[in-house]
Each structure stands twice: as structure tokens, then as C-alpha cells.
Amino acid sequence: MYKKILVATMGEYMDDLIENTLNILNDKDAEVIFIYVVETSVPFLTPKKVKEMMISELKKRGEEILSHMEKAFKSSQESGIKFKTIMTEGKPAVEIVKTAADENVDVIVMGTGKSIVDKHLLGSVSEKVVHSAPCTILLVRTVN
């Protein structure tokens, strides 16, 4: 049914995301894209060197997450489904929507994310993506 799937991750609930992605995969010609967005925005008055350090740490973490996702995904399925990873910089919701449009994906898989308190305090990437996604979205329940 879905030929191209975009899986957005920030490093949490990776097993749940992989499991749900595998559940909607029923075409051997499908392609799965994992995306990690390095959030580069920092508040005004953040020292430049600290900002550089933050971005470098986030990139390192992104590489680890994508590599973990790739290994976990490949070990979970036997067919020759195409797989690729994308690491990009910017605002997570904007980059996920932009990549979904550029790659012309059929569905975005992502976690519901945070609790109601966290959502109010930190904002929610999934909520922003829901409002502007160019395709279907599968929100995996990740809140206990």
C-alpha cells in the first residue's frame, strides 16, 4: 500500500517506530527513509563556542541514532526493501514536512511524543507536522 515511508526520530521509542513501520510494509519494492533533524536554534545570548559545541554533540548523537535504526531495521526484515538515512539541520517540524514533500513520501511515521505537561512546556513536533504534512501520518502512541 505505502511505497515510500518517512520515519522521523529524535532517538526515543526507536523500537516502537520500527515495529509500526514494519507493520505497514507489505510491498517488497518499498523504500524507508529515516530522518533525524539537528535543531540548530539557540536562544539569544548563547555563547558562540557553546552553540558550536551543542551542534557538534547533536550531530554525533544523530549519527548514532540513525546507525542504530539502520541496524535494528535491517535485522528485523528479510526482504530487499530499500533503506536510507537523512540528517538535516533546522527546525524539526519544518524539515520533516519539507523532506516529506521533496522525497514525495506516502506516509510519515512518528511518535505522539510528549505528555500533556511536556507538550505545553516544550511544544510538540508531531502536532506541528500534523497541521502541515503533505501526506498521511501514522502517529505511534509513545506516551505511557
Binding site: 532517538g11 545570548l45 548563547t46 555563547p47 563556542k49 557553546v50 512546556l121 516544550l122
Partner: protein, 332 residues
Amino acid sequence: MIILLEIIALIAVLVVSLIIVIKSADLFVDNLVEIGGALGISEIILGVTASAIGTSLPEFGSALIASLSGNTDIGVGCVIGSNIWNIAGILGISATVAGFIGTNKEGLNRDWFMTLGTGLILIFFMLFGDINWIAAVIMIFAYCIYLWFLIKAQRKHGKNNSNNDSKEENHENNKKNKKSAINKKSISYIILGLAGLIIGCRLLVYSGVELAQIAGIPEMIMGLFTLAIGTSIPELVVTLSSAMKGLHDLSIGTILGSNTFNILIGIGVPALILSVPVEPLSLTLDAPVMIGVTVLLMLLIRVGGMKINRVAGIILMLTYISYAIVRIFIFG
């Protein structure tokens, strides 16, 4: 009416001078690192030093300028107040907003014991009355040893990482470490940053002292709260944003590193130039509260399973509010 206008003008000077101080500190450290790199100083040493002093230069500059201009109360108040605000206020706010702040056992033990130790060293010297040049030399020496430990830890971390890196990356790093010509622009920016720091800190202390006099507030209170919170803005933005991004080591490391720097250098260097007098209430209330919140932080981390969770964050914030109320309205 004239007094009101004067207060508004002084608040405007305070805000503008704070921005000047923070931006100048950034410019200064940034270009110091550039020149250090050009002189062949290792990136690890530069990185550790830059992150250790980067966010704390405003407190240091204000404490130094305040002491040199004869307002020692405001200087000592700014340092002790910053340390209490850093732990109870900033870590409290960050843990509450981000949900939790995780800790790394090795880094936490090293930085927390150093923060507690420096607080106790300060109280010890305060017991003798004025903090003189002998205490200053010991404090500065202690900071150099701490910096050496940080560099050693970073080298170990770097070695572990480099085992996984490709030869190509190592070649790039070697190229970066080689000496290169010093950029004249960097020297100009260092001078500009230093000038901005001096002028900004002088304006900051001036507006703080004037506001205290007009409003009839003791200078110590001005230092403990207004200047302490103002000069800790870099710590607040770094700690909060790194906690929100999940960079927990950076979040807690910034606070504990800053507290160590504030005491050993923020009080040590001014005391090297002239003796820093100790107000009795600082010894009996402010410094013990500083030690108290440091101990409370560790207790909350232990209870929370090596994390500062949201409840712990709220407890820290309530502790700060309680201290502020008691200090301003009962002992102010």
C-alpha cells in the same frame, strides 16, 4: 517624577550594560580561542577553557570591577548570589521545563565535589575575616588544578572517540592543530571584547549601586539578586536549551563549572589585588545557603535515580524563592 525617570534610565542602563557584557565576553573568548589555535595550543585545552570561562566572565568582570571601585559587597554578593541562583534557580527552571536533566556519574562526582569543596574553602577563608592575597593564591592555584583535571578528562574522552574515527579525520585534526598566522582581526576583536567587558561591567556596577541607593536597598542585596541573576543569563540560556535538547552533560556541567569558577576566580582574582571584606551575614546566611543548595542538589539527584526530575526542579525553585524572601524581607 524625576526620581521615577532616573530609576527608568538606570534600569535601561542595567539592561543595556548586561547585553554589552555578555556579548563582549563571547567576542573575547571566541577570538582568544582563534589566537590560541593559531599559536598551536591544543583544541582540547582551548575548548575546555573556553567553555569553563565563557559563561562566567560576566560574573567575574562584575565582581572584579565592583571590588576595584570600592563596592566589594556588590562583588561578593554577585558571586555568592550567582552560585545560589545557578543551582536552585537555573537547574530548577531547566529541570521543570525540560522534564528532567540526566547526569553522568564520573563528571557529576568530579564537578560536584569540586563545587562543594570550593564553597567550603570560601567559608573557611571567610572565618578569618577579610579574604586576602594568601587565600587568593590558594584559590587560583586550586582552579588551575581543576582545569588540569578537566583537560585530562577531555583528553581521555577524545582518545576514546578517536579510536572510532577514520584516518582521514585524524589527518584533518593534525592539520588544524598546526600553527598558523595570527589573524589581526582576532586581535582587534579581543581588544574590543575586553573594552566592552570593562565598560559594560563598570556601567553594570554603577547602575546597580545607584539603583540600590535610590531605592534604599543594601548593595549586598543588589549584588545577590539583580546582578547575580543578570550576569547568569548565559548560564540560564545554555543550561535550559541544552536540557531541552537532551544534552544533559552540558547542562549540569555548565552550572557546576560556573560555580567553581565564580568562587575561585570571581573572588580569588579581586582578592589578589585588594583584600575582600566579608559581611557577617554572608558568612552566617548566604554562604551556608550556597553549600546547602549544593548538598540538596546531590540529594535530589540520588533520590531521582541520578536525574534531576521535574519534582526536584520544583523543589529547587521553591528553595530559591524561600531564600529570596527570607534574605530580602527578614534580613534585608
